[in-house]
């Protein structure tokens, strides 16, 4: 019977072209949405690689066209750290986790280029403040003061791409295309530690290879804005935030400060990331509903056009239920043609390594989209098939 159904659908391919196209486009949309959702869910379930809870971001501004001397900034850090409820403070660059500020670059080690990596400035307390998990080596320390190269800590994924299975600690790498002539010591990066891969963009983003460059103490850089990560004791709230603001003002009244809770910034970023995803899902859903209604209508029409055939098949020995299953089976065959075409297209994504994603989410999305399309078409075909099953053969044959 299956061969018969395939023959029938194949011979009716022109008439079924619309249905096959609808199934194909539904599959493609579901595959796209599925790939996005599966990737987001997979990322969401992966660890962040650091602990964002009980961490605040203190932003200190010197004022327009003003710079802050490092000595006074260090004074602020010391005084904030001394406040009751503050566990540790760490000076860092503006690209703190979950905010819309990134700094990335490509590095090179013995002619081998790294993937695009996030670059963070971090002082000796950053690792402790973010509770990064060290896999190898150590975080920066005062003992690095005398180093001839810029000490860096790198993430595990960057380590794998640059050094493979070989040792990473003590290796020196540079920016991509360091230029001719001897490199400056601050542009040569000495690996002192390796931490777990981190996901600092959003809850739904994948881990990005990362480099933390050591902020050298007592340098002469004068910043307009300083970003300070403050790890606080559990239960700390607005009172401590006010104290921190007063402390900053106490060092110099010209400076302004703002304290933000990192967890709130995470939730804000999550919302920002979710909105387009939800929008995509709603659009996909409307499309699928439209397709489902279209399928339903076409099937209904098909059955009304094929009443004589139904009567004939009943006369030849088909049961009512058999007729219902035949129509359902035909729809499944049509779906198979659409799904096969869609799979041909979807398979190009993992084969071409599109969007630098691994093959797994794509393969899962292909499976999920196929299952969903079969479910939707079966659902749409169910009622018309029941209608076909209920047609009385004598009546159907008489109508002809």
């Amino acid at each position: 019977m299956l061969r018969h159904l395939f023959t029938l659908i194949w011979n009716r391919k022109r008439a079924n072209l619309l249905l096959i196209s609808e199934v194909f486009f539904s599959f493609v949309v579901l595959f796209g949405v599925g790939a996005v959702l599966i990737t987001a869910a997979k990322n969401y379930l992966a660890p962040h690689g650091f602990n964002y809870e009980q961490v605040w971001r203190l932003e200190v501004r010197a004022g327009q066209n003003l710079k802050m001397p490092r000595a006074e900034l260090d004074d602020v850090l010391r005084q904030v750290k001394a406040l009751p409820g503050v566990r540790t403070v760490a000076l860092t660059s503006g690209n703190t986790p979950f905010i819309f500020n990134t700094n990335n670059s490509v590095f090179e080690y013995e002619g081998k280029k790294s993937p695009q990596a996030n670059v963070y400035d971090a002082d000796d307390h950053y690792g402790e403040a973010m509770q990064l998990h060290l896999r190898e080596g150590r975080w920066f320390a005062p003992s690095d003061d005398g180093s001839n190269h810029r000490p860096v800590v790198i993430s595990q994924d960057l380590r794998e791409s640059m050094f493979g299975n070989g040792p990473a600690l003590g290796k020196i790498f540079t920016w991509e295309n360091p230029g001719k002539g001897p490199a400056k010591p601050e542009d040569e990066f000495l690996v002192t530690g390796v931490v777990d891969a981190v996901r600092m963009e959003s809850d739904f983003s994948a881990a990005i290879p990362s480099v933390w460059k050591r902020l050298i103490p007592y340098d002469t850089t004068h910043w307009e804005t300083a970003n300070v990560l403050v790890r606080v004791a559990p239960g700390s709230g607005g009172e401590l935030q006010e104290k921190i603001a007063r402390t900053v003002a106490g060092v110099t009244r010209q400076w302004t400060s703002q304290v933000r809770v990192m967890d709130n910034e995470r939730l804000h970023r999550r919302l920002y990331t979710l909105v387009p995803v939800v929008g995509l899902c709603i659009m996909g859903l409307f499309l699928i509903i439209n397709v489902a209604l279209g399928l339903f209508g076409v099937l209904w029409y098909n059955i009304s056009q094929r009443r004589a055939e139904i009567g004939l098949r009943r006369a030849m020995g088909a049961t009512g239920a058999g007729i219902g299953w035949q129509f359902l089976g035909e729809m499944m065959v049509v779906t198979t043609f659409g799904v096969l075409l869609g799979t041909l297209l979807a398979a190009q994504f993992p084969l071409l390594n599109a969007f630098d994603l691994p093959a797994q989410p794509y393969l899962l999305a292909i499976g999920a989209a196929a299952a969903a399309v079969y479910f939707i078409t079966a659902l749409c075909a169910w009622q018309p098939s029941r209608l076909a099953a209920a047609i009385q053969p004598a009546v159907a044959l008489r109508e002809e």
Partner: protein, 246 residues
């Protein structure tokens, strides 16, 4: 039911070679068929008693609307009578389930329709295979062979790959007869099989049916308006306003 199907299978494999042994293959007793709507009650058949013997060729005649097609639907187990009993091979089929009736139709009855009822999107041989698709335990090769044999019998061996749209009316009706024959039925119910054909083609089809009856012993009940054709059959049953008048 089991015995009935077993008997029919045996019969198919051993054709009767034209012998009319006067055993009733189909018996209708006190049949009434009433179509009821909210406002109108239409009596399509009234107190019909009819026996069809094995190997007979019976014509059913009467004016339009006299109940001929209704009678054929009842004989073909496509419809249920309002009152009365239908027996196939001596067994009353009223209590049969949809599945049992479908099996019985598939094994014992072949249908030929005035408008052929071929599936236009299937080739000739695929059309002939249709009744065999519903036969349990029959493989694809056997189906194909039986379909080809049936087409050979009706002289259409050279047209197996054609589609109905590529055939003449007479050829289409031959395909329909081959389809009815493919399952090796005991009875062929033909509803005005020459009604859509010109006289030459009508004669060809009539000769084919007569040959099947005389040489292969197939029982045939044919509804017709053509007196000349009816006279070629063994018995003519006449209807008027739902009642048997002769």
């Amino acid at each position: 039911m089991e015995n009935l199907l077993a008997t029919s299978s045996h019969t198919r494999s051993q054709p009767l070679n034209g012998a009319t042994d006067a055993l009733p293959v189909l018996r209708l007793t006190n049949i009434e068929k009433v179509y009821q709507t909210k406002t109108i009650e239409t009596v399509a058949l009234n107190q019909v008693n009819l026996t069809i013997n094995r190997g007979e060729f019976v014509s059913v005649m009467g004016p339009s609307g006299c109940g001929k097609s209704t009678l054929l639907s009842l004989m073909g187990l496509l419809d249920e009578p309002t009152r009365g009993t239908i027996e196939v091979d001596g067994r009353t089929v009223q209590s049969y389930s949809d599945r049992e009736l479908a099996n019985l139709r598939n094994l014992k009855i072949g249908f030929v329709f005035q408008s052929y009822h071929l599936i236009n999107d299937l080739s000739v041989v695929d059309n002939v295979e249709v009744p065999l698709l519903y036969r349990k335990g029959m493989g694809g090769k056997e189906r194909r062979q039986r379909a080809l044999d049936a087409l050979d019998k009706v002289g259409l061996s050279a047209r197996t790959g054609h589609f109905p749209g590529q055939l003449s009316g007479g050829q289409r009706q031959r395909v329909a007869i081959a389809r009815a024959l493919a399952g090796g039925p005991e009875i062929i119910l033909a509803d005005e099989p020459t009604g859509n054909l010109d006289s030459v083609m009508g004669e060809e089809i009539m000769d084919l049916l007569l040959g099947l009856n005389r040489q292969d012993g197939v029982t045939i009940v044919m509804v017709t308006h053509d007196e000349q054709q009816a006279l070629k059959t063994q018995r003519v049953v006449r209807f008027f306003d739902g009642s048997q008048v002769g």
